[in-house]
Subunit: 302 residues, 2 copies
């Protein structure tokens, strides 16, 4: 199959450029304020760590739709804050009880549990404020309302929190495929979907293009979770940045424990192939989006 | 001093009427969705409990400014959800570790710690969505953005979360009056301030009126915290609905431990008197606002 990645395209370089842009904006939005320790805890889990995959997808989505990537930077950074918030709360002893995250001690290991709960709360309230306060005035207010509403949806009971709630309830239990699919969709795919939609919405994309990018986001998000579950079994602490094998030990339903390693690998490849085909069939020529689909499959094959 | 409460005014009845309106809307916004247990946990700490003081202040503020109280119901209910969220997280074992709240077992005693963390997160993300989705279309979008931004500010590091962070850090420590004032202002007064501002903003109040109501909100919120600290020493579990004496035992700085009971009582009376005078001097003739100021002082005198 033709991959449609331009010959001269350098994925690592493109990703690095966007990453720097995102990191400098995050640094700007998360300047240490009062109370100092709270802001430091908020920064600890957001600044200088993470691949920024979700935010990069937002920027590329804007570019594909002929928009200005600058317009989507506040929403893209808010998304990274939301992602950090969910990791801080997930790692708490009463949740997944993880001591390592992104290659360093978890938030509560450094700041204590109480401050980690508060840092998560603070990021959750502050992230949509960043969208309101920093999205350029030129953006249509109706679009901005839709964007914030979708952001809050992805963050709340219909999104990450909902997925995490079912995930926790299903520990050490036999669940059906519908319930398992619900967890992955809400916990992971919703944020990727929002990432793509944010760029498209802020760039005045047609409904058709918005639908295709939404679909790509869902597939890539789902694939990302499968890859994460495969790596949870195979990778080392250093490679993973968090404790490997933790999920299966905790009696969590992972894609590998649920469907077995072979189907997991097959489904991952099918999903990323289908995501690439979706772009090609709809004449969305983005080396970066195709490159990311490839990257998600390849990282588990190393 | 003239109290300016109309002779025929029945505070209990006025409060009860507003409370019913607020409760029926909360019931409507918080219908059990998927995942069921998460929504039940969200409802447990929000529905059928609480005085709804903050939401009532929002409705009255709208009436005073000649607005339609219906317009402010979504924001008023969002405020109650935010208040419930802060109580759920405050009661967690890693925070204030309280087993009782609002006369019943705390959220984590019923649903477990993990679900309580998630129920709080879910309320925090869902509350501003309620404002976006349910505030009538007739409200000016610029005003609505300001409202949501102020709501998120009151919820986040510059509001409740910030106050709670300093509060926790100052346990068993000697702090200055500035720091102590910061805790009360952020943790409690910010929400009361927002309650008053929400009603005024949505009713197109003049800047002067907005300023007076903001000031009243700050004073009443501050007074409310002093009264709460006095009751923490004096009341029983049944009267309080939460474990009495908990704050002082936990080495928390309360108004009573910080300034002594006499000054606490004096400052409470001064603040509520000053709140009443502020209204009278600015020709804001609201029996309900004056009644609430009286109520806050009287409830500790029983």
């Amino acid at each position: 199959m033709v991959s449609f990645i331009s010959e001269n395209f350098d994925l690592a370089r493109a990703v690095e450029q966007d990453k720097q842009l995102i990191n400098s904006h995050l640094e700007n939005y998360l300047k240490v304020g009062q109370p100092k320790t709270l802001w430091k805890a908020m920064r600890y889990s957001t600044i200088s760590c993470g691949k920024r995959l979700r935010a990069i997808l937002s920027l590329e989505s804007a570019r594909i739709c002929g928009g200005n990537p600058e317009n989507v930077l506040p929403a893209a950074c808010a998304l990274e804050m939301l992602h950090a918030q969910s990791l801080i709360h997930d790692d708490l002893p009463c949740m997944d009880d993880d001591d390592f995250r992104r290659g360093k001690p978890s938030n509560h290991k450094v700041y204590g549990e109480a401050m980690a709960v508060l840092a998560g709360d603070a990021l959750l309230a502050y992230a949509p404020q960043v969208i309101i306060e920093h999205t350029p005035d030129s953006v249509d207010k109706k679009v901005l309302f839709q964007l914030i509403n979708e952001f809050l949806h992805a963050a709340g009971p219909g999104g990450i929190v909902g997925g995490q709630a079912v995930d926790i309830q299903s520990e050490n239990k036999t669940i059906g495929t519908g319930e398992f699919d619900y967890i992955i969709t809400r916990k992971t795919a919703e944020l990727f979907k929002f990432a793509l939609r944010a760029g498209a919405l802020l760039s005045g994309a047609s409904n058709e293009k918005l639908d295709v990018l939404t679909e790509y986001g869902k597939k890539i998000g789902y694939a990302f979770q499968i890859a994460d579950d495969i790596l949870d079994v195979e990778a080392t602490l250093q490679e993973l940045g968090k404790t490997p094998g933790k999920d299966s030990k905790a009696g969590k339903n992972t894609y590998v424990s649920f469907y077995g390693p072979d189907k997991a690998m097959r489904d991952l490849e099918d999903l990323t192939r289908s995501a690439r085909e979706l772009l090609i069939n709809n004449n969305i020529n983005s080396s970066l989006l195709i490159g990311i689909a490839d990257y998600i499959t390849q990282k588990v094959k190393k």
